[in-house]
Symmetry: C2
Amino acid sequence: MRELGEFAVIDRITAQHAQAPHVLLGPGDDAALVAAPDGRFVVSTDMLVEGRHFRRDWSDPVDIGRKAIAQNAADIVAMGARPTAFVVALGCPADTPVEVLEGIAAGMAAEAGRAGGSVAGGDLVRSEQLVVSVTAFGDLGGRAAILRSGAVAGDIVAVAGDLGWSAAGLAVLSGGADASDPAFAQALAAHRVPQPPYAAVLDVGGDVAPTALTDVSDGLLADLGHLATASGVSIDVHRAALADADLAAVAALLDADAAQWILAGGEDHAFAGTWPAGTALPPGWRPIGVVAAGSGVTVDGAAPTGGTGWESFRGADATSGHPNR
Amino acid sequence: MRELGEFAVIDRITAQHAQAPHVLLGPGDDAALVAAPDGRFVVSTDMLVEGRHFRRDWSDPVDIGRKAIAQNAADIVAMGARPTAFVVALGCPADTPVEVLEGIAAGMAAEAGRAGGSVAGGDLVRSEQLVVSVTAFGDLGGRAAILRSGAVAGDIVAVAGDLGWSAAGLAVLSGGADASDPAFAQALAAHRVPQPPYAAVLDVGGDVAPTALTDVSDGLLADLGHLATASGVSIDVHRAALADADLAAVAALLDADAAQWILAGGEDHAFAGTWPAGTALPPGWRPIGVVAAGSGVTVDGAAPTGGTGWESFRGADATSGHPNR
């Protein structure tokens, strides 16, 4: 990296990847130019820090790149928008092998493509830790954004995508279990590269739509808590509806509690939404609870026990099961 | 910071600052929503790392926030676009006083307002170093973007804004000079908070426009080099046109070379553009050279001596005068 210099590395990374149709001008000038067909764009930004959001001994560079894009794309889709483009600022030590940066860039390009966009530009600087900051853009196609604040009493609470598997993978890695055991493969993959079910939101079609929507990044109960607060409602989650026999089998091997992973694990970037009572839920969605008047989130009518989710600055002291974030 | 937790800090920071008209939905949901009136948006991202792009003992939090926004806004304006909004990802140690973050946020809000936008959203995570990643957006108002690639032989090369003052301030701070000496006040201010002359680009009016444009972030010769390469031309800069008696007086106090600061200093975020021969340059612009056929950048017809600019990963070994970046 030090040998090549910033500009050469940027050239080398950006030259390899094609641009999506929305990127009107890609890397190489003072700024990029991106199409915003409906006259607005949705934007979200997330920073990932080595040792906290990922570890190089647990994830390869391609996985790190995919995860960084996936968690940002999930925020875009959680507004009901279709991802169009991403920009990336990356800080790394001067002795970082250029192959690591190329791997991250390749992972980013792959996940950006899966989400529907491409990496339109970036910045590369020197830092002590590897730090990846992604900003994601999306287009609403003329529709209203789906906010966290639209839930009303009587709505169905539903989820699309897996829950708890990323936490399970983290438990395998941090607990010293045998990571080569095939029984842990699904959990490890989920932790290394979340797979947000973009299509479950974007390809619903017809007249049905969630009244409120979020992605599950901090933990199901925490994120439903944000949604309930924004909407001025309460939410009750049904534990039985969240049961996952495969995840329970993994938990049994580690003497862990699968329900805790599901309720508080976060990082799977599933989508949680509320739907009008009586809605025939679209493919990929399963009902897990109901919205009522009041405030707060309960599980089978009772206050949840254990940690309810993750906050960056308090998590290491809490019981959320995310010591590495 | 650790006591308050991420969400409380974000609430505390974002609640204090009003949003610009282009921000249709600010912080608090999975993503923000920003207007893009002409169906496109310009976007640029830059990361600032403590100890490299700024030092807490040299700059107060408000200055750091202003600088982070200014350098990104300059990239937007260097495309001919008007800044509309910014998003910010910030990593910091858990023991960072919340007042530091509030200061950075206040500086960001102030400079965003000066540039014409506001901070629409962000992310706050824990990291070992203070890292600030800003992504800036702008609107072209239906015009074509002004690229680096539009210069043609015969064009006038002109500059708007100060050059070399940021490097002078850095020399004061890094050389152990008396920073309280009033003779250094202008240089220190320029280093701590660059003042890109946004209006010189955005309020030109009439039919005149640069054929190519960039901001001076890496150093005048380096950035003109990028422009010359993109346009497939050569550029000759006239040393006499760049002379600055006030800066020379500062240089004399430090036994330094003002011309080197001007040619290679960077970080002032002045604008350098090429204009058709015969153009009556708009207010704020001064001619400094000419475009010709060929390639490369010369000073009074000769290859430049000394460092020509800054690259993040090689700068500490070069002679660019930016040991702290």
